[in-house]
């Protein structure tokens, strides 16, 4: 593999990895938000 091919490979891997990091980080944040919301609702239901 020449240097150009190695760099091409690294940039491609970086693009794919960053895409997945962004998407999964957003889904994780959404999941935490959803869980916190459910917890709030449950504790509110117990108070009523």
């Amino acid at each position: 593999m020449d240097e150009r091919a190695i760099l091409d490979h690294q940039f491609t891997v970086a693009a794919y990895a960053i895409t997945w990091i962004i998407q999964l980080a957003y889904v994780a944040w959404l999941g935490f938000k959803w869980r916190a919301q459910k917890r709030n609702q449950d504790s509110r239901g117990q108070r009523l």
Binding site: F11, A15, Y26, L30
Partner: protein, 234 residues
């Protein structure tokens, strides 16, 4: 039944993502001039397409909110939730576009960024929708949803400008994949298949998180309404 449908949607989406990845990395041939780095295209372009679709959903939600806010409050709240979900998930996909694009550009053009029409209008689009999300996060009061809806409509006006930018102006960005004339588009059927599968996979993924974001926002609205009612009753 609902749980089964959700489980099935997740399973289909994961299968599509794996299949799309396999097609993009192992099946699609190397492009002759750009070689391996061209494979970034299989994530970059579908992400842009899904971002545009979700900004369009946000536009419909914003228009719906303004149309229903006086006579159908429940519809207005649902429209507002779609507007927010579309904008937020759209920003996520647009962020992917703005990061994967320069990674490709660095190898293909030798530069990370250039202020050409396609890149600049995409950055402006992202900034408008980030402003929209900041407005929703930090503005308070009953007018917030109305202001956000107006900003959402203005933001969506940039989508056709981004789409047409490399037709209207001479740009460094590659020609459009679809509708760009005889010299543009994907010629190799294997590349076209890989591209098609990835469009389908990212669309399925996007719709799944859009539905989840909508659900969270609707729950949030109901919770806020209950709190307001309790405060009035107390």
């Amino acid at each position: 039944m609902k749980r089964l449908a959700i489980g099935l949607s997740v399973a289909v989406t994961v299968a599509l993502m794996v299949w799309g990845f396999y097609q993009a990395i192992y099946v699609a041939p190397d492009e002759q001039t750009m070689h391996e780095v061209q494979r970034i295209f299989y994530y970059h372009v579908p992400s842009a397409m899904v971002a545009f679709l979700f900004f369009a959903i946000s536009l419909c939600g914003s228009i719906g909110f303004l149309a229903f806010r006086r006579n159908r409050p429940e519809w207005a709240q649902a429209s507002d939730a779609w507007a927010l979900a579309g904008a937020e998930v759209g920003v996520v996909f647009c962020t992917v576009v703005l990061i994967t694009g320069p990674l490709w550009g660095r190898r293909a053009w030798g530069i990370w960024w250039t202020w050409d029409a396609r890149l600049t209008t995409t950055l402006v689009l992202w900034l408008i929708y980030v402003s929209y999300l900041l407005l929703r996060r930090f503005a308070a009061g009953p007018q917030m949803q109305t202001l956000a809806a107006v900003l959402g409509i203005f933001g969506a006006l940039d989508v056709p400008i981004v789409y047409m930018s490399n037709r209207w102006w001479r740009t460094q960005h590659p020609a459009p994949v679809f509708g760009g004339g005889e010299d543009s588009g994907i010629k190799d059927p294997a590349m076209m298949h890989a591209f098609g599968w990835n469009v389908l996979a990212w669309l399925a993924w996007g719709l799944l998180i859009l539905a989840l974001r909508y659900h969270v926002e609707r729950q949030n609205q109901k919770f806020a309404a209950q709190n307001a009612q309790q405060a009035l009753d107390a």
